[in-house]
Structures are given as structure tokens and as C-alpha cells.
């Protein structure tokens, strides 16, 4: 039996995040009939901000509970601090998050693997697409919260690297009652050539954004390029004057409508056993379970050395609900397909196409570096607030 420690986050923003993730993981273990092969120990790490708490809990799991691996739902900044502990004790550190940040140094620890939904890569692809499809000039709109993650840098940087020109930047107030797009409307009046918005929102701010856009034809007629959480099926959207939002586009890692067998099984099993619809959080849990399954297979063949297991994982492809998941040899980051999605009506998201050449695109993305100079970002795990 393998012992796995889980350090799980909480979120008041998305209260079901931790439990959906855990359910996704548990249901996969049941689905693969390997539930009894794992002893799971869980602990809570809040919003993923307190380094000392996370370090202490991870160390306790290793030294006292003698786990074989720890699944840590937290952001990349924490992982760097923990890698020496895991390398030294030859335990696997499986870091899970949404991929809304990328590391300053992509070089992985020998026993570390990072599983994400690759949001930074997707926003980067979306920024590039916006520059290629439009007349280059764009207004950037981000929420105060979403702007504090490197996915924001990725979208705006990719847009500019590909010839895009930022004409105006607007950051919305975190207080819903003070949310306004009036400065954007003023900027559009002064810059009549602009036909593109680059947008990063999540949760209620995303809902508020769409409500404002559908209320105003000056906005709804524009090409709107968005982050993955703005194409999240969980958003509770209510239209303003019109349901039509013209051209809302963006790259996303997964959608419930994907027709592959793994996705159909995932949603059916998850829904039947939990009574809930699958979402990004349960998907992350399910996929983490798939990785646990692969780790177990390695143990079954006698490969019990953590760093050798990670090497083995870089040589296999996992059939996931979002398609084929690979583990990058250079970075130990997992990545899957990228889908271009379009929201032509508020209630209607369609997958337009799957990105061709995803491997090369991913490799290129992992060369991304922050601009030189001082930077700042939120320290909590994305969506854990």
C-alpha cells in the first residue's frame, strides 16, 4: 500500500474547490479500482500563503507519517522551498495548481513533478492569437485579483511580442459595487481603431464583466480575448440587453463537451457518484489520481525510487479527460492539449479547434521569463482566496 499525504487549500471565492479536487481524486481511485492500494492522509493549508505552515506539515507527513508522496495543492513559489526536503528524503512531491503562475527557474527537483491546467500557457496562446487576428491595437482589462498572477503577464506579453499594441490598461476594483468599465468606454471613444479587448477575470468579477459587456453594444461588438476562467462553465451568467457577445475567444485546457472516451467516463462516473457536475477542480483531482495510478504501476514493477519514478513518468502518456497528458522531461511539468474555445452567446461555449503542434508550443512557452526588474504578485494559490 502506498501512503499519500494531501495538503489541500480552501477558498471562500470557490468554496467547493478543495472538496471537488479531493472528490475527483477519490473517484478516480475508485474508478480504477485502486482505492485500497492507497492510504490517504489529508491536511488543510488555507490559502496556500503560509510557507512555514506548509513546510512544517509536509515535513511531518514525511518524517512522522512516512508517506511515499505528498500531493500539494499550492503555487510554484512554495515548491522551490520544499524541493530540498523531498529530494533529500527521496519522496515524490506532486504539486498541483491551475498553472496561473510559472516558475522563475524551470529546473525541477529530481523527485518533483508539477501538475497544472497550464493557464499561463493558454493565456499566452490567447494573447498571440489576438495579435495575429486583429489590427494589433488592444485595450487590456484585468481584475485586481487576476492581474496579480503571471497568466496576466503571459497574455499581454505574448500579444506584444507578436506585434500587439496596448492602447489602454484598466484594472477593475475588487469591490463588486465599484466595478466599472466606464474608463474603458472613454478610452474606446478616444481610440476608435481599437477593436480588441484582452481580458482576465474569474468568479463574480467575470460574471460582472459579461453583464456589463452585454449591456453595452460598444463593448459587445468587439473581439474579446479571454483567460480560461472566463470560459469556465461554472460561471453564473445573466445577460444584459442581449445574449450576444459577438466574438469571445480564448484557449482552454478542457471542456465538458470534449468527445474523447476518458472525458465521457470521467463525467459519467463523477456525476453518478458525487451528484455533482465535473469542473476544473474535480478534473485536477481526477488527473492527479491518474498520476497516482501511474506511480503505483511503477511500484508494482519494482521501481520504488522516487527520482526513477519521475523519470519513468516523463516517458508515458496519460489518457485524461482533456486528452493526452505528457510530463515534460526538462521541467517535470505536465501539459495536455490546448483548445481554442468561443463563446458566441453567454450560455454557449464551443470548442473551435485543438492547437496543432502543442509539444513545440509548450517547449517554447517554458522558455518564458519575466521582464527584468522588480515584479510583484499575489502569494496565495490562484483562486484560493
Amino acid at each position: 500500500m502506498l501512503r499519500a499525504g494531501l495538503l489541500l487549500p480552501r477558498s471562500t471565492f470557490y468554496p467547493s474547490l478543495g472538496i471537488d479536487f479531493f472528490n475527483g481524486l477519490k473517484e478516480l481511485l475508485k474508478y480504477k479500482q485502486i482505492k485500497d492500494d492507497f492510504l490517504l492522509t489529508t491536511d488543510n493549508i488555507g490559502f496556500g500563503v503560509n510557507e512555514q505552515e506548509i513546510y512544517t506539515k509536509a515535513e511531518k507527513m514525511i518524517l512522522q507519517d512516512d508517506v511515499d508522496l505528498v500531493i500539494l495543492f499550492a503555487d510554484v513559489m512554495i515548491t522551490e522551498l520544499l524541493q530540498p526536503l523531498f529530494s533529500a528524503t527521496n519522496k515524490i512531491l506532486l504539486t498541483v495548481n491551475f498553472g496561473a503562475n510559472f516558475p522563475e527557474n524551470w529546473t525541477p527537483g529530481a523527485t518533483a513533478i508539477t501538475h497544472t491546467l497550464n493557464f499561463c500557457w493558454h493565456t499566452s496562446l490567447t494573447g498571440e492569437l489576438a495579435a495575429k487576428e486583429t489590427n494589433k491595437q488592444a485595450v487590456n482589462i484585468v481584475s485586481y485579483y487576476d492581474g496579480g498572477y503571471r497568466q496576466c503577464f503571459c497574455m499581454l506579453n505574448a500579444h506584444q511580442v507578436n506585434g500587439g499594441i496596448p492602447v489602454y490598461n484598466h484594472i477593475t476594483n475588487i469591490r463588486t459595487e465599484q466595478f466599472t468599465l466606464d474608463p474603458v468606454l472613454s478610452a474606446l471613444k478616444e481610440n476608435t481603431d481599437v477593436s480588441t479587448l484582452l481580458c482576465l477575470f474569474s468568479g463574480d468579477q467575470a460574471e460582472r464583466f459579461y453583464a456589463e459587456v452585454t449591456r453595452n453594444t460598444e463593448l459587445s461588438r468587439l473581439n474579446i480575448y479571454v483567460s480560461p476562467m472566463m470560459l469556465d462553465e461554472q460561471l453564473n451568467l445573466s445577460a444584459g440587453k442581449t445574449e450576444s457577445v459577438c466574438h469571445v475567444k480564448g484557449y482552454i485546457p478542457w471542456h465538458s463537451s470534449l468527445k474523447n472516451e476518458a472525458n465521457i467516463s470521467f463525467q459519467k462516473h463523477y456525476n453518478e457518484n458525487t451528484g455533482n457536475k465535473a469542473n476544473y477542480f474535480s478534473l485536477l483531482g481526477w488527473e492527479s489520481g491518474l498520476l497516482l495510478h501511474e506511480i503505483k504501476k511503477q511500484h508494482d514493477t519494482g521501481n520504488t525510487n522516487a527520482s526513477n519514478i519521475i523519470v519513468a513518468l516523463t516517458n508515458i502518456v496519460v489518457e485524461s479527460p482533456r486528452g493526452r497528458i505528457k510530463t515534460d522531461t526538462e521541467t517535470h511539468y505536465t501539459y495536455g492539449p490546448a483548445y481554442l474555445a468561443e463563446r458566441s452567446k453567454l450560455s454557449d461555449i464551443k470548442i473551435v479547434e485543438e492547437l496543432n503542434g502543442a509539444d513545440g508550443s509548450w517547449q517554447k512557452f517554458t522558455k518564458t521569463k519575466l521582464s527584468s526588474g522588480e515584479t510583484s504578485n499575489w502569494r496565495n494559490t490562484y483562486l484560493c482566496i
Binding site: 513546510y55 512544517t56 526536503l85 529530494s87
Partner: protein, 310 residues
């Protein structure tokens, strides 16, 4: 950040960003350097001014006793080494409760020895890095706590790479302080001896260009590896030894000439030399006993096209 007390031993400005990090968090109780190192004395006097942290000067003859006395007096929890030329005996290493750790400015176990930055460049490695390891009786052989790598850029000199590694060490210092503060153990893993290699200080031959054997790229690496500390890679012409401090590769040679042959030596074309792989090397800066000059100014010393470097 924590109450960890550190005694820090160093001998090179590469340690400065790391020392700043430890000073910022208020962890250093004393800094020790060899007494003969006047440059570091000057730097550290400035750095430690108004901090209350003493600078202790150690002699080569008595450093063991001086260190033992300092550890007794300042009672550090741990000793941190960021370049130090003297070997510490086991009885000193074990004096602080958490022992000693060493910041090695190279990748272990593949690049042990006193000049890892230089050897990463001379070996044409694509990556360099900083390794933090626990000190044991051997040289650079202790268990590794953490290691971080960076790519070596094509135009990296010894100096630019050293600066990058200095700041990388500062980042590792910050993380190490957290590990010391949060954890109950200092995590470390033994080095893989099958991948270990030890490099001594390079001799004159290793720092001299072999025009017959070395490709243009290899010459550039050697030149960069010697810049600035050795003033350049050694070569000679008519028994006159000079250093090549900065050079670049031009287009492929248009005609076959013997490696080392000077093709041009004038202001318009610069100092251009044939290499063994039929490329032209433009030598931008040279060092002589008379000073640093643009390469083509060798002409003023009687050097001309057709002559050969050997």
C-alpha cells in the same frame, strides 16, 4: 525571520549578495576572512558598518584556533562558507550545533574543486549553478541540501557568470534560512560518487590558446573564461606573450591559411586570425604588459598580416 545565528566565512566578492541576504534577516553574528585579503576587508568593512557584526581576520597559520575561539565566543547555530581557501578540520565543523554548510559556486558532484566557474566555462558546459551542501571532511563532498542551475550564455565571461551565480546564491540563502527556521532537520542527500569529478586550479597550459587544435568556439570560451580575472587567454607571437581579453567569430575563412595566421591587422579590418576550423577570429581587446589595447593596435608593436600566433 528567525533566531538562527550564523558565523560566515568568505574570501571573494561573489559572496556579497548572499551576505547581504543574511544581514538583512539579522542572522550573522560574525564574518571571517583570511587576513591577507585586503579587497574583501575593504568591501566587508563597508558592508558591516553600523551592523554591529564583527569582521574577524584569520591567519593561515592560526585560523583553526582563531575559528574555535570565535565559535566559543559568538555561539553560532551554524557555520556558512561562501568561498574560503582553508580546509576546516572535523573538530571545527562539528562545533556549531548544525555544523557547517558550503555554498559551492558550481554544480556538484560533477565540478568539485576551487575554481568551478572557470571549469564550467573551460569544459564547454551548457549549465552552471550553485550547490549548497553540508560540510564534511572531504573537499566539496558533503551531502547536497539544494542546487539551482542556470544556462551559460554564449557570451558569458567568467565575470558575468560569477555575478549571476552570486545572486543565485543570495536566492538560495533566503530559502535556506526558511528551511533552517521551519524545519526540524536540514534535508540533504549524498552526492552520486559515480558522477563526481575534481578539478584543480588550471595551469598555464590550460589557459593558453592552442591554435592548431582549438576551434574558434573553443577559443572564444577560453577567452571568456579568462576575462577578467586572468586578463585574457594566453598566446604568443615572436616569443612575446600577450592575453586575448575579448574576441568574436567572423564569417568562414575565404582561403586556407595555417591556424593562428594573422589575416588582417589594421584599423579597418581589426585584428583577424585564422582558426583551425577555417573561421576568422576578430580579436577586439588584448592585454600586454603595456596595458589593454584594441586588437589591431598590435600593429603599432610591429605585428602585421601573415605573422602567426603560436
Amino acid at each position: 525571520m528567525n533566531n538562527i545565528k550564523i558565523i560566515l566565512l568568505c574570501n571573494n566578492p561573489v559572496a556579497v549578495p548572499g551576505i547581504r541576504e543574511f544581514l538583512f534577516h539579522g542572522n550573522i553574528t560574525a564574518v571571517c576572512i583570511p587576513e591577507k585579503n585586503k579587497e574583501m576587508q575593504h568591501i566587508l568593512n563597508m558592508l558591516l558598518k553600523d551592523t554591529g557584526v564583527p569582521l574577524l581576520l584569520l591567519s593561515k597559520k592560526d585560523y583553526r584556533i582563531q575559528l574555535a575561539v570565535a565559535i566559543e565566543q559568538y555561539k553560532p547555530d551554524i557555520g556558512v562558507i561562501m568561498t574560503f581557501p582553508y580546509v576546516l578540520p572535523a573538530e571545527i565543523i562539528t562545533m556549531p550545533a548544525k555544523g557547517f554548510v558550503n555554498f559551492h559556486y558550481g554544480l556538484l558532484p560533477a565540478c568539485r574543486g576551487p575554481q568551478p566557474i572557470l571549469w564550467h566555462l573551460l569544459n564547454n558546459d551548457t549549465e552552471a549553478g550553485v550547490t549548497l551542501h553540508q560540510l564534511d571532511a572531504g573537499i566539496d563532498t558533503g551531502p547536497v541540501i539544494t542546487q539551482e542551475k542556470i544556462s551559460i550564455a554564449q557570451n558569458d565571461t567568467y565575470g558575468t557568470l560569477q555575478t549571476k551565480l552570486a545572486y543565485l546564491a543570495a536566492k538560495l540563502s533566503a530559502n535556506f534560512l526558511k528551511i533552517l527556521s521551519y524545519g526540524t532537520i536540514i534535508p540533504s542527500a549524498p552526492q552520486d560518487e559515480s558522477k563526481a569529478a575534481y578539478y584543480n586550479m588550471p595551469g598555464a597550459k590550460e589557459l593558453t590558446i592552442d591554435w592548431k587544435m582549438m576551434s574558434a568556439e573553443k577559443i572564444i570560451r577560453l577567452v571568456n573564461a579568462c576575462n577578467p580575472w586572468n586578463k585574457g587567454a594566453g598566446t604568443s607571437i615572436n616569443n612575446w606573450v600577450i592575453g586575448i581579453t575579448e574576441a568574436e567569430i567572423s564569417e568562414a575563412g575565404s582561403e586556407e591559411k595555417l591556424p593562428g595566421t594573422i589575416i588582417f591587422c589594421d584599423k579597418a579590418n581589426g585584428l583577424t586570425v585564422q582558426t583551425s576550423d577555417n573561421k576568422k577570429l576578430i580579436i577586439n581587446i588584448i592585454y600586454t604588459n603595456e596595458g589593454f589595447f584594441s586588437g589591431w593596435k598590435l600593429g603599432e608593436f610591429g605585428v602585421s598580416a601573415g605573422m602567426m600566433f603560436t
